[in-house]
Symmetry: C2
Subunit: 131 residues, 2 copies
Amino acid sequence: MTTQPLTRNQGLVFDVLTHSEGPLSAYSILDKLRDDGFRAPLQVYRALDKLLEFGLVHRLESINAFVACAHPEEGCHAHGITAFTICETCGKVTEFHDHVIEDRLKGFAKDRNFKTGKTTIEIRGTCAGCA
Amino acid sequence: MTTQPLTRNQGLVFDVLTHSEGPLSAYSILDKLRDDGFRAPLQVYRALDKLLEFGLVHRLESINAFVACAHPEEGCHAHGITAFTICETCGKVTEFHDHVIEDRLKGFAKDRNFKTGKTTIEIRGTCAGCA
DNA sequence: ATGGCAATGTAATGTTATTACATCAATTGC
DNA sequence: GCAATTGATGTAATAACATTACATTGCCAT
């Protein structure tokens, strides 16, 4: 993987996500970056688009939020499908990869000649600490 | 499963989804029901909440849309986790159930004492017809 | 009849995401 | 050097999705 240098905006957004306890919405990222000159949602969305592309950030579809990748050094794209548990009480997100699930989904798609793009796997519930 | 009789609004919303080719957003459902007296988003969302609860409708988290269950007679809740392929070209949605994936996800959650609530599995891509 | 409950109607607002257009900076080819 | 291109940015406006708050209605069990 060739590591891209991040632009100023991308770096700021990535930093906010990296230092956050849990996932953040685009608008809460925006709020955290007002002091750094951010004024409009688009500044955040544009940076997020790139970070998603680089595999440094994940989008949690079921809660419309974004989270830093758990192992950004390697570029998460290398790991295939990413799945998440999302605690609805404390917001904690855990990222995991399961080749059995991945093979199963790939098989299903292949059988039907469905060309797979992005795959979402998200489990919402309550984490051990919040139970 | 005890089959609930649907209220007027629930029935109207369910009908629209049943007769639709593909998934619909809440607002497009609203538009289709203007002539039946629908005036506000909440009328749609309330009906959808109930239909989701009954297992007659699914919400596609990754595209903010709703689709009628493929086998509503049985109440889809009976089938465990539901997974979807979503064609980004024609909008066609296919619903499927895979016990291997389900066991795998349940196992992961159990190992971490994560109490599973709703699980989302959605594959976006291109269907055979659109390839 | 009345108290409780689920469904409904309506308005307003909150939250998430995109479109459109202008500007700026770095790079490339001539 | 200097257009031409390309990618990033700034700003405003708007679109798309979802919820809160409050009033009303109809039903049914006591």
